[in-house]
Each structure stands twice: as structure tokens, then as C-alpha cells.
Amino acid sequence: MTFISSFLLILLSLNLHAEEWKKSQLKIKLPEMNNLEFSNRAACANDSNKPTKSLFILIDNLNLGKTLYRFAKNENLDSSVFTTTGIKTYRKTLLQALNTITYKLVNRQLPLLPVNTDHYLTPLSYQDLSRRCHSLDRCPELDIYIKSLWDLSEKKYLNYIPRILKFDNFNSNLHFLKDEVVKKNRVGCYEVKKFSALEAHLYGGKPTKDALSELSSALINNQDYFSSCDEENKMPSLKVATYQWDLLISDDKEWDRLGFDFWNSLKLYLNYLMKDEAFLKKVAGEYAYIFPSVSMSESVVLASNGCGSISPPSCTMDYLSKNSMRLFAQDEFKTSMGEIELMKQIPSSLADDLLKNPIVDVNRDILDFKNYEMAHQWTENFFDNFSKVKGFFKLRLLNSTKNLFYISRTKVEHFAASLDRDLETLKKSPDSNEELKRSFYHLCAEYYVGTHEKLSFLKGDIDNLSKNEQLKDVLSFNNDYRVENILEYLSSIRNEVILRCNRLEKEKFWENNLAINRPDYKRWYRQEVYQEKPAPFDDSDPSFLKTSPGFISIADHNGVNKTELSLCGSASECARVYLADMFRLRAVSNYLTALVPNSGFPTDANIFNPYSERVACKTYDPWRKTKTSMFQFFVDLSQAGLSIINPMPVYVSATIDPKTPVSFATLVKDGKVFYDPSFNKDKVHASLMLDLGAIAGIPCLISISDIKQPPVAYYAFNGININACNEDSKNTATVNDSSDIRTSKTSHSECFTCSLSLVGSLKQVTTAVPVVRPFAFLTYALINLYKNMSDPENVPRRWEVNPFFVHETFRKYGEIPKKCVRSLSRGDLCLESKCEEVAAKSVYANFNTYIESILTDPFGQQTKIKTSSCSKPIILYNDLSLTGCQMRARPYTVEDFKIPSSCKVKVTK
């Protein structure tokens, strides 16, 4: 008895000495921040196909600021106050619009407007509008449709779904978010002041002790790093703003199903709401009249925070173009502009770039956050670069279309006659017309190169431009002018030029001495033929014979008098200008969506994940390594079984296309597998399929390797082996993964291999005694699987960190102990015991308070939790024995706690 009493006394004293946790300075409810999702390369690539849960909202207010300033000056208002308040109001209005739409979507007051309108359950009117409107942002009918839905959502109904279903045949399962997909229907919104370890998932693959310590430090000193969007703070920058906007998702599966439709709907409703008079008058007051003129595509960028996407990745020019804007955030942009494709007059296509660089960095601070002390400095740099390039592209587009327009007004016959006249003059006295002669020489050189080798892709790209609504607007300065005219005219001019150039070649006209200066060629020619680096933001070209009036002139007022400005001095020069401007116009076409935006939608991009377009364009397969490893494993296992019988007499045809995933079953089905005629085909086939089992259907990617020899006629099966090339290791390169590709400038890609070779590696094993063989194969299979699956980058791996749990763990220990790294990286809390963790999580789930200390008695009967809201501890009675804690999956409820009557702890709703 005495022993028991002393034991209880010891317990009591322990209670009195329960260690106090560090105080929290958090003003933000951290549970309203999403978990940080860390991933390696393959996982990040794979996650690009999933909808993001978190956004960075980047706002550029420079144009708005300038406009408001002018407005205030015109009105004799205090321009500083009017401009500052206007910018603050715009940011508030935008965030409020996002929150209002989200609230209505998660409460099913508004339906989701699906991205994919080909589904058979797509609402008919919406489907019809999407098909009729060339682009949704330029569709007045869609505005009316969305307005009707919005008006419906503004009315008071208990259940909106039946009304919405009546409006258009939406589907209650496909077009509405389920209850609690978004936790408590809340979003977390933070203004980012400094980048920190809260963005650690964008910095490095696996969470380390250092990263977690930095994260805890950023959370403890959070007021330096971020603040709630609701807080009234001084704006760190008038020019730009950086927000993090998190949707708190509690049902990942449902979110993966409908998330892309959510983002699509958010953009469509946002475009409507930011122009809606009633909403703007309510939120923006006196600025309501001006805000609809703000082009969101120019001033708002929605960047997914992490590997997920806002729009479903697709290998389209639009998607590639938008993602190319990650370039503007990188520090090297300013230093390496001469190397950047978009400065070139004939840039390689965006898809070519993906093929050239299949493996790039990801999750390694690729956008250089760490180089900026303050977040707004990074955003300013991003928009500064972005605006400069946009300005350059706009001028490139406007100048080239105008020049093409003016030149093509001249009749081709007039062109031809002028060329003939000049040639006649030249032939009469070539020595006294040196400049004209050089102009003709350059004309021929440029047209030979430009129209023969380049016209094929040029035509395709220009055809794409003809479908672009925005370009139609640009060309609308003349009612009859179309993109098609530009191409037709080039074709006519080309014929005239080439005809004369061929004649001059035949006459050996150029064999006389002629001094040719490289700088006299047009810029596109010098870049293409002489690999000259582009001069950043400079499209200027040398010009010949620019006398006034020129061969083609345009009207110009120089102050008082109406004059004519020579566009090009002679027919030969005009033909050269025309070709050069064709290339410039084509160069713009690649980047039109991102760099010449003109819509009501904010620009969205997956700027942190360069694999989103690589996966979409199939230049990187995140599951390739896993699939091939598993395939190899099954093959090895089968070999273990097969090793006691003879090799199979099977052959397979070599006519397999590279880059096409092929399974053995497909090869059989397509008649590409042949059997030794001395065996019974059916029996061999049945036996083989039985041995292969499930692996017969696993696709094996046929890749290209470097080899000078032509491919062999067929692949021999030896046991279970597919190998396209002979066994000479000098000539073969089995491609396991894109990262293994070695490029060789001297060889051509001609040989296909499917990476399933067992012959070389198993030679020694196959000579072993029959009884040993199966075990040897089995061991080999397991070792091989382990080796393959340990690939740090190409086998998908993920880690999850709950920032609030990191914060609480730090408060408990005063540091992040090494022992906690693993559980924190699993998204868990790390306290002294499982029971403490269950108790703490139950407190967070039920009360709006911070823990100051926890003490559990050794018998697990009760846990006393001291909180910041009460002087006395709240007590949790229940099965908190070690087994009880381990078994408990859900937190306890409020009823399980004994709360002292003096305690006014707030219960979470």
C-alpha cells in the first residue's frame, strides 16, 4: 500500500513538472494550410496529371497603377492615394471573387463546368457553346450562359441542384463537388512576404532534418514570411503581389476526379465575376467602372504550387507556350538571352526543345526563389522579364504583319517587272551597281535557303496562325486582309524570285568578284546559316537601297506634313523584307498564347514542374523505370521456372515502331511472333504464354539507340529475351530510361531495343547444375529488383509534411529531433509517445487553442493537457493505454474530454 502511495506521489510530482512547450506566435490557423507534398522526379512528373491543391497567385499591377494615376491626374484627385487605394482594392476584389466562386462551387450553388466537353454526359447547352465558340473567352453566348447560372446561385434556395439540372442537363455525380471534398469549405490564403522552407517542396526531393528545422523556424517567425490575406497590411510592393492560395482537400480521390473541372470552372466564373457590375460596385466601389478593362491574362498568373496542374497537361502549342514562361523567373534569363530560343528569328519548335532536353531539374529551386530576399522582388523580376518579352513579341507581331500587309498590296506583276528592270540595269553595268548586285545575291541566297528548306514547317505554322482569333483582330486594320493572303503572296513572289535566280546561276553571273559581307544578310539567315547568336530584343535588319520614295512606301506624318516613308527601296529588297517578316511572324506563332495574351482569363501555368509537358508529350514516362523493373523481375522469376526446360524456339519480327509501347501479347496478336517450324506452334505458344503469365501483357517500350548499322531483320528469342541489336556492346545501347540516353553526333538512330535482355547477364547462371539454377535465378531476380527500385529519381517517391505538426513538434522539443524526421515526413506528428500524439491530435481537432504541455499517466488512464486557453488542464479519459493509442485511427470527440468549468476553450465548429 505504501509502495502504491509513493508511486502515485511520484506520478503527481511528474505531473507538476510536465515540460512546457515553447510559446507560439502564430496568428494564422495552420491547419488551414495544405500539407507540403515532397516528391522526386518521377513522382513529380506523374503528379502533373493530377489537379493541384495550391496556387501561387501572382499579380502585376503596373498597368493598373499607371492607368489609375492618369485617371486621378485628369480628375485632379490625389493621385498617390487614388492609385494606392485602387491597387489595394483590385487585389482585394480578385481574392474575394476567387473565394466567392469557391464557396459557391463547394456548396453546390454553382455547377462545375467540365474541361472535357466530349463526355457523353456533358450538359448539352454548355457542350454546344464550347463547340460553337472558337475560344471560350471570346464567346458572348457563354457570358450569357454563365450569367444565368450566376443569377441562379444568387437566389435563396435550400437545394440548388434541381434548379441547375433544370437549366441545363448537368449530372449530379459529375458536375457537383461532394460534401467535405474541401475541408470545412475553407480556403487558406496567405500573402507571401519571404520565400522560406514553406516552399521547401519546390527546393529538394526528400525532407531532411535541416529542411524541417528551417520550416519550423519559418513557422515560429511567421510574421516575417507570410500574413493572412484578411490582415490589413502595408503593401510590400505596389507593382506586384504574391499570394499563396490553398484549397484544403480532404478527399484526394474525389479531387483527382473533379479537380481539373474545378479549376476550369473557377477561371470561367472569375472572368465573368470580374466584369459583373453588381459584384464590382459592391466590392470595388468607385473603381468598379475601371476594373473590367484590366486584362487578367496580362496581369494575373496562376501558378500551381508544386507538381500538380491547373489545366490538364496536353502536348499542344498553347500548353507548351504557357509553361515556357518559367524561363522568365530564372536568374539566367537576363544573362543568357543570346542563347534563348524565343529571341531567335527561327526558333526551334517548343516540342523540339522537349526532345533535346528530356531530363531537366525539378524540385531544385528551379525558379531561383533563394536568390531573392523578399518574395515581391522575385515576382517583380518575373513580371519585368515577362513584360519585356511580351512587349518585344507584340512589336514583332505588329511590325511583321504590317510589313507583310503593305508589301502584299503591290501586284506580283509589278514586282516581277521591277525585278527585271533592275536586273537589266545590273547586267548592263554590273560594276557601277555594286549595291544592287549584292542585294540580288542576298536575295537569291535567302530565297534558296528560306523557301526550299524552311517552307514546309513555315506553312504549317502559318496555317495555325490563320485559326487564331487574336491575330484576326490584329489584321483587322484592313477588312479584306487574311493570314492566307500572306502565304499565297509569298508563294507567288518566291516563284518570280527563284525563276530569276536560277537564270542568273545558269549564266554564271556570280562568278565575277563580288564582296559579300556577312552582316548584309538578314538576321534570320545569319542565325540559321552562320549560327549567329540573337541580339536580345533586337529584330532590326540591314536594309539596302532605302531611298525615298522606295519601291514600297507607307504614309507618314512627320510633324506637320504628310509624307511617305520608304519601307523597302527596291523589288529585291522588298522580297527579302517579306521573307524575313514571314519568319518573324512564324516565330511569334509558337508563343502567341503566353506572350501575346488578350483574354479575360488569368494565365495559368505549371511553372514549377517542367515534366508536365514532358509527360504530356511522352518524352518522359514516370512509370517507365518501375514498369521495366517489375517486368524484369517477372521475367527473372519466369526464367527461374523455365531454367529447368529448354529455351523456347521463338522469333519475333523486327518491324516495330520506335516509341511505341509493345507487349508480348500484342506482338503475338499482330502476328509478329514466329515459331521454329520443327515444333508444334500451338503447344509452344500455349506453354510460352503460361510461363509468361501476367507479364505477357506488360508493355515494353521500344526505344531508339545509337547504331550505325541497319537493324537486323528479326529478333531472336532465346528463352525470354528480346534484343534488337547484336551483342556487340560497342554498337548497342539498351535504353532503360530517358536519363540513360547518350547522344552521339556521328550516328543515326536506327536500332530498336526492348530492355529485356537476359542473355548476357545470365550466361554464367545457365551453366550451373539444374537443381541450383532456379534458386540462382530467384536470388538474381530479387537482387535485380532491389537495385532497380532503389533508383532515387526515376522510381516515384513521395513524402508529405504537415506544417502544423512540424510547428508543434518544434514547440514540444525546442528543435526538430533526428528521430522525428521519419514520422514528420509521413505527414505525422512526433511527440514522446503514440498516446501523446493521439491526445494532441484530438485537441487540435476539437479546440481552437494551443497546447502548452501534455502528461499521460503510465497506466494510460488519463492525459492532462494544459492549453493556452485555460489555467487548469483539460483531461482526456479513455482507453489511452499503449494498445488503445496504437489502435485509435480517429481523434477523440469533445465529449471524451473533461473541461474545467473555469475554462473557456473555444470548440472548433
Binding site: T67, F71, E75, P140, Y289, S293, K394, N478, I554, A555
Partner: protein
């Protein structure tokens, strides 16, 4: 043309433009219209009166250095010049349908050119004969309130005529 219309603007002079804006901030810029000889369409626009001040609209998604304003302000008075006459009834009709954006020299959405610069003043005044210092630009907007380059005209208060602007 049987009727003669007079469009008098609230935006024509620097000071009147400012005063109008200040008084009617939430509704934006306005255009003062005077139907001098009782023209029917003009009176309809003024809802039965011979003089009125009407609200005008702004283009959407056009703020800043977008293609429209970039091209407009760098070509205005240089290669973008008045050509054939624009019937005033058409302007009245578009104003009635709220499809017409009205711009004066100090138009606040112009952040491309400094409206006080000597060159800009010069180019702007050249849009009208007789060195008319107060031309008004009318840009017709489509159903999405996007301006159309082929539908910009200039109204010259002194001659009381309007002309379509064309690239020469």
C-alpha cells in the same frame, strides 16, 4: 443627310473632362450630346431631349500595352489616318447600343504615349483639318466589348463631321 447632329463632349477639354469625371465617378466618362436641329435618332438617344449627357462604355481586357492600344497610339496620325466619311447616324446608333468607346486626347487608358508630349499633341490634332485641337475618337466594340481596328472613326467638332480611320 437630312439631319445635322452636334456632338458636344464632356471630355473635350482637359478641365471639363475632369469635372465630369469627378461628379460621376462610379459611372465613368460621359459624352455630352446636343441635337441642334431636332434630329430624330439623336433625340431618341437623348430620350426625348435635345441635349443630354450619356454614359459611354470602356473596352474590356484592354488596359495596358495590349495590341489594340499599342498599334493605335503608335500609328495614330502617322499611318492611321482619316479616310472616307462616317455617317453620324451610325455613331449615334452604336452609342445607343452601348457599343461605342469614346476617347479624347487625354484618354486615361492610353498609357502608351504621353498625351502632353509635343509630338502626340501634333499627331492628334492632325486627325482633323483646320488644326482642330479637340478630335474625339470613337471605337466600336464587338459583343465582347473588344474594339475593332476597322471600326475606329474620328469626330472633328469644328467641321462636325466624322471620318473612318484607315492605315495608309
Amino acid at each position: 443627310m437630312k439631319t445635322i447632329l452636334f456632338l458636344l463632349l464632356a471630355l473635350v477639354t482637359d478641365t471639363s473632362f475632369a469635372v465630369e469625371f469627378k461628379a460621376l465617378m462610379n459611372a465613368g466618362p460621359k459624352l455630352s450630346v446636343s441635337c441642334e436641329r431636332g434630329e430624330t435618332s439623336c433625340i431618341e438617344l437623348c430620350k426625348g431631349e435635345t441635349e443630354c449627357v450619356i454614359e459611354t462604355v470602356l473596352c474590356r481586357d484592354c488596359m495596358g500595352s495590349g495590341l489594340f492600344f499599342t498599334e493605335l497610339y503608335r500609328s495614330l496620325g502617322r499611318s492611321l489616318l482619316p479616310s472616307q466619311e462616317m455617317p453620324l447616324e451610325k455613331i449615334i446608333k452604336s452609342l445607343k447600343e452601348k457599343k461605342m468607346m469614346v476617347m479624347d486626347r487625354r484618354f486615361f487608358l492610353n498609357i502608351i504615349e504621353d498625351y502632353n508630349s509635343f509630338d502626340f499633341k501634333e499627331y492628334y490634332s492632325l486627325l482633323c483639318d483646320y488644326q482642330d485641337s479637340m478630335p474625339i475618337l470613337f471605337a466600336e466594340l464587338d459583343s465582347k466589348q473588344v474594339p475593332d481596328f476597322a471600326k475606329i472613326s474620328v469626330f472633328c467638332p469644328l467641321s462636325q463631321t466624322a471620318k473612318i480611320l484607315r492605315f495608309e
